[in-house]
Amino acid sequence: MAGNSVLVSRRALIGGLASTGGLMLAGCSGEQPTYGSLLRMGDNFTYGAQRLLLPAKALAREYDRSAISSMPAIGTVDPSRADSEFYSPEGGAAYAALKHGGFADWRLRVDGSVARPAAFALADLQRMASRTQITKHMCEEGWSSIAEWTGVPLRTVLEAAGIRPSARYVQFHTFDGIIDSIDMVDALHPQTLLAYGMNGRALPISHGAPVRLRVERQLGYKSMKFLHRIEVTDDFVDPGRAGPIAGGWAWYVGV
């Protein structure tokens, strides 16, 4: 018996060492490309460590209405403006037409690793069970603000489209040409919303109308504005210059 317990603890030790090694390896050869940069390897290590050490279901703090603060609109404030920080001529033209029609013709396409690819109108999303949360937005620049967000949990929409068990990432396409993804831990998190309301009104254009993402446990740039397509993938898909990694930014920003 004593020998057995030594064996078990040795096995546990080896398992522990192996998982630590796995973490180190994830830092160097994870699914997210590093482009050979030591900094990106560090980002992957932080991602692995946070996923390993932090509870997956922890909720970001929610506040009272009295805590709502002023909030700057930065990056792209209207995808139809050609002088935006991010601009896609195709997306910009499409957005201009939709804006002119009060977003009545806007559709959110959900495809990829789902059983029933679909296109949802704003009214379709608004008919689903909504969630309202007052949370803090933290920008990588260093500032923060608190606002009330109303929308449908991303999970609800993914389940409506019949997300496949093999799905591992959810990638978002925006009218200003940004393509970026989150993993299933964040995608299925109850506070991850497709938000169409802000501070009790329709989401303003400068904050991402008609629908933006809210990912409350990462920095602001993961809460993408001006969504038009959600693509569920089984593997990590690197969008190149449309995404953060090729541009020299971390893909996971829980820090």
Binding site: P72, I74, A147, N199
Partner: protein, 254 residues
Amino acid sequence: MEAVSGQYQDSGSKGHRLWVRLTHWWIAVAVLVLMFSGFTILMAHPRLYWGDTGNDLTRPFVELPIGPNYKHGGWQQVTPFFASPGSAVTAERHFYIFNQNGWARSLHFLAAWAFIVGLGAYLAFGIVSGHIGRALWPRRAERRPAALWRDVKAHLRFPIPAAEPGGPYNVLQKLAYCLIALVALPLMFLTGVTMSPAIAASYPILLDIFGGTQSARTIHFLTFAFVALFLLVHLAMIALTGPLRQLRGMILGR
């Protein structure tokens, strides 16, 4: 006179132990990288606030005149969110700001991992071996105001006698080392992780301890300023007390 200068004389110093030397240089390199990358991050938004929120549309606790983003202004389309007077507002930014956070943030967190490993090893060795209690913690007699004052006067007298690397340390030295190793550096770690949205979601008590994300950021900066001041005084004291001997002591032991 004799007693005071006696504090600086060799009285049984064994030099710096290997683990002290290793963790000293490991932490020193990590801290220098953290200071450089952290300052670059601060330049993107050189405004400090108190509480949980703070941005260009709210009033700062202080705005630091560092870099091109100092008081850049220029916000357009200021729109209130609510009808009530004094309502929170939004506004648009249509211009580029200085922002090197792509590499600066990732470098900061890479160095932070090294820092955590180094500081953790130092504190573990230091506490278990009794080194911190023996060599750094001021003794009861040293904590008396008269003893402190005597040491202040001794420091103001030039030339400062050449100190033996590895102590024993005088009381001001002990206080400085205790403040940096037991207070400032652990505080840098705690205020740093408080700013992480994922860590704060898991441990919201951090937000309560420091009074919010922006308070933690402000304390992080003030502690950085203390670490920078410590570094300047530390280098000055080494320069004044036989720099080559001190440097050799921290590399080779003695």
